[in-house]
Amino acid sequence: MKLHHEMESGVLVIRPVEKRLDAAMAPSFEERVKAFIADGHGLIVLDLSPVEFVDTLGLGAILASRKALGRNGEMAVSGSNEIVADLFKLTGLDMVFPLFADKDAAVAALAR
């Protein structure tokens, strides 16, 4: 899965280039994000603005990445469209991942 990434105020911003984070994409997504974490990144914003659809296997990959980050790291999600936000809410994961309207707000919250 193609991921765009950049550093902003000490926060790693990861943005999928694909329109779907689903069963077909989840394994390579998880692998890529875990590699960033292994490299020592502790503050991560996952910017889902290009993503139109996420399924529970995509969600599982996000959650597995969050776990790999551990208690000392922080991860926030930004740019989720209405239906992706609904998925977080319907599965209760909006309690685990703060959802921000845009990347800048998410970066600001983590960089504090």
Partner: protein, 149 residues
């Protein structure tokens, strides 16, 4: 529920080979059909979620992730509701799950990577049933469509 000659039903059958790479085609098709019928894109998105979870489960569990098998999806449109049936000819769902697909949601407290597909389907749809007959397993999902008057 109306019945009889006045009630039209339209059907579309879809089939894919059991590979995750094919599932988005089913999801997009269901999204547009449901969104069109409900005149509501969010309803389309939710029906896409439900059907994608059901097809993923058929591939992952019934066929243990093996490619080369067939997953069938039947879309039925009634005047006032949409039915999605996802069928496989693989391993049937364990009774522990099968018997409660239409009951109260599981506990959300445990945060685990898996175990969310059926829960999500149950939350999205009005009713869910699972049945196995002669080696063919089907998850039947139904949703009322409230069209704008």
């Amino acid at each position: 529920m109306k019945a009889g000659p006045l009630m039209k039903t339209q059907h579309l059958t879809m089939k894919i080979e059991s590979s995750f790479g094919n599932v988005f085609l089913v999801g997009l098709a269901v999204n547009r059909i449901a969104g069109y019928l409900a005149e509501n894109a969010v309803v389309g998105g939710k029906m896409e979620m439900a059907v994608v979870e059901a097809v993923n489960n058929a591939i992952k569990h019934a066929y243990r992730g093996e490619p080369g098998h067939e997953v069938e999806i039947l879309i039925s449109v009634q005047d006032d509701s949409l039915t999605l049936a996802v069928s496989d000819r693989g391993r049937a769902m364990e009774d522990a799950y099968a018997s409660r697909v239409n009951r109260i949601p599981m506990d959300l407290d445990e945060i685990e990577e898996g175990g969310r597909g059926l829960l999500l389907i149950r939350k999205i749809m009005d009713s869910v049933e699972y049945c196995s007959e002669e080696g063919r397993n089907s998850l039947l999902m139904k949703k009322a469509l409230k069209r704008q008057p």
